[in-house]
């Protein structure tokens, strides 16, 4: 386990290095003055510019410029947004938890829906149910997420009036910001309308989370189906059947656990895809998360914000990826092995 952890940590450090290098080089690639792209002070006066040049060591070689940039990031200084003139790290601290909340709920829904359906499809392999599930999965995989979001709003919010169409919570509720994750903040707040706020927030998150979850759910269907088919063909399942265990017992006691392990290792890879979908969905549902903020930043050509957003978001995805790797390794002793390069 120790070598596994060490490998993962070194991978993480390497990744952070590459990501910071990438975002550092973006200041040169984006139009405009490099040091302004680093810091975000578009209205810098001449004296400000001198100070900025000193801070980012623009007069020295590229290596020390990079170290200066890295130092700023490690100190939490991600620069200032060109559009709103406020500190990017303070904005991100408010926005990132909303995206975390949304994507984790979506991931949960995708897993809770996709994995069982995939198992059912595998159990009824090559029968009508299997084909039906696979065709539905293919359809779900092919729908453009922005179209789905619009149709969902049209049908559920306006047509049926069941669910709200925008935002994280109704603006009437005043919930103080503690962690940024709405559900935790509601429970911690002193408002007399706690339970209404809670149900209101739940109503607000259902539609965007389901829209995001559709694509990954179909991928989970496919993955878990393949995994379960493989497991059901193994010799130990055949042995269990020969032992005389009933079908239900085999499935719940043996097959699911083993099939699940194979699926979990792919969850980490799917997360990047899910965050992409989340970014577009945030725009459609006006969800106050980092995805919508990034897309706004590109409309406003706010280069500092784009760089820092890239860094934070990729970092976040990679952390989740590594966490899931750890969970997978905890569940599957074989994975802690040492002969895999990636």
């Amino acid at each position: 386990m120790l070598t596994f952890t060490l490998r993962r940590v070194s991978l993480f450090l390497f990744t952070m290095l590459v990501l910071t290098l990438l975002s550092f080089s973006l200041s040169f690639l984006f139009p405009g003055d490099t040091v302004i792209n680093h810091s975000g002070h578009i209205n810098a006066t001449a004296t400000d510019l001198i100070q900025l040049n000193k801070d980012y060591r623009m007069d020295e070689n590229i290596f020390s410029q990079y170290t200066a940039y890295l130092t700023h990031i490690l100190n939490g200084n991600l620069g200032q947004s060109m559009a709103s003139q406020s500190s990017i790290s303070s904005e991100i601290i408010k926005l990132l938890p909303a995206t975390i909340e949304l994507s984790l709920v979506a991931l949960l829904i995708a897993m809770l829906v996709g994995i069982p359906l995939g198992f059912i499809a595998a159990i009824k392999h090559n029968k009508a149910t299997d084909n039906a599930i696979l065709s539905l999965a293919m359809l779900g995989y092919s729908i453009p997420v922005f179209w789905l979001g619009l149709l969902a709003i049209l049908f559920f919010s306006i047509g049926l009036g069941w669910l709200p169409s925008a935002g994280q919570i109704s603006p009437l509720f005043e919930i103080e910001h503690f962690t940024g994750i709405q559900f935790i903040d509601i429970l911690l707040s002193k408002s007399p309308y706690k339970w209404q706020a809670f149900s209101d927030a739940s109503a607000h998150i259902i539609l965007p989370a389901c829209v995001i979850a559709l694509g990954p759910a179909t991928i989970f269907i496919r993955l878990s189906r393949a995994s379960m088919i493989d497991v059901l063909a193994t010799s130990y399942i055949r042995a269990a059947r020969a032992k005389g265990l009933s079908f239900i017992q085999i499935i719940f006691r043996h097959a699911i656990r083993n099939a699940l392990i194979n699926v979990i290792r792919h969850v980490g890879l799917q997360f990047a895809n899910l965050v992409t979908l989340a970014m577009v969905t945030e725009v459609i549902f006006s969800w106050p998360g980092i995805g919508r903020w990034l897309i706004e930043s590109i409309y406003q050509r706010d280069y500092t914000a784009i760089q820092s957003g890239l860094l934070v978001l990729s970092c976040f995805i990679f952390i989740i990826h590594i966490l899931i790797d750890f969970i997978y390794a905890a569940l599957n002793p074989l994975a802690r092995g040492n002969n895999n390069g990636s």
Binding site: V18, L139, Y141, P144, L269, I298, L310, L313
Partner: protein, 297 residues
């Protein structure tokens, strides 16, 4: 009666013909394939086939609903948008943008990805591990984010979108090719060729590629359906095709303002995107299904 063939010869179809044979027998895959061919023809011949131009609108015919509605007009089969432009023509021209460009993007990334991937598969040791980790990092950045960054550097516009999407897909092809080539290299027939004295390039070209080409094709269809969605998403966000280009995502975004008055301007482009992606996926599924069946035979 003269019989030409005296002895019945056994015909051994090549692996590709075997694949095609199985593919042909799957009705769903054939439907997908025909739709795919239809879309390719449309993207090439749309200037000839489309009834109107996609850019100039007839200001007397604004926001006509599709022809099956009471207020519709048969000469504008799928209705018009707010500037009087015919939806059918716009969608047809859009095929060459959303679908056609995705096709080109995939071929481009495929070629470059395969070349780099196979070359890098030949390396070993630290270089190989380094490349692996680097690829992992790039693959962990959300594709939309990467495309946004590239568009931020290059500026919005459809040509820059094409570059952005191509650059996003190259790492995926590199990864797949590396994996496939490395897997093939472990097999015995490669060992046999090597013992025969073939150098790496010969092995790659004559032995390995024919065996991985089908896997690459199946990956390419997956990539193309993803590329269609990427191009449409970027068009929808306003970062891709700019007005008045009739790219499907851009048409949808344009129709959004009048969603409630003229919902067909939003439904129809969405359906077009769905159709194209489903067709591509059906072809891909067909190939994968045929591969599996061929293996089992």
């Amino acid at each position: 009666m003269a019989r030409e063939k005296v002895y019945l010869e056994e015909v051994f179809p090549s692996p590709f013909m075997q694949l095609w044979g199985i593919f042909r027998k799957t009705p769903v895959a054939m439907v997908g394939f025909c739709s795919f061919i239809f879309l390719i023809l449309l993207s090439v011949f749309s200037p000839i086939l489309a009834p109107y131009t996609p850019i100039d609108g007839n200001l007397d015919m604004i926001l006509l609903p599709p022809a099956w509605h009471a207020d519709g007009n048969v000469s504008y089969l799928l209705g018009t948008d707010e500037l009087g432009r015919d939806m059918l023509s716009r969608l047809m021209y859009g095929t060459s943008l959303t679908f056609g460009l995705s096709f080109i993007v995939v071929i481009f990334s495929l070629v470059i990805g395969v070349v780099i991937g196979s070359l890098s598969a030949l390396t070993r040791g630290i270089k190989s591990s380094f490349l692996n980790h680097f690829l992992d990092v790039v693959l962990s950045i959300p594709s939309l984010l990467l495309a946004i960054i590239i568009v931020a550097i290059l500026g919005p516009g459809i040509s820059n979108t094409v570059w952005a999407v191509a650059i996003v897909f190259i790492p995926q092809f590199i990864h797949i090719t590396r994996y496939a080539v490395k897997e093939e290299f472990r097999k015995d027939y490669v060992l046999a060729s090597r013992l025969d004295g073939a150098n790496n390039f010969r092995i790659l070209y004559y032995s390995v590629f024919p065996n991985i080409v089908e896997r690459l094709m199946s990956q390419a269809t997956l990539a193309q359906s993803a590329a269609i969605l990427e191009i449409a998403t970027l068009g929808f966000l306003g970062l891709g095709a700019q007005a008045p280009l009739p790219e499907w995502g851009a048409i949808l975004a344009n129709g959004l303002e009048r969603f409630y008055i003229a919902p067909w301007t939003v439904y129809l482009p969405g359906l077009a995107i769905l159709f194209a992606v489903v067709a591509t996926n059906l072809v891909g599924e067909g190939i994968r299904h045929a591969l599996k069946l061929r293996k089992e035979n």
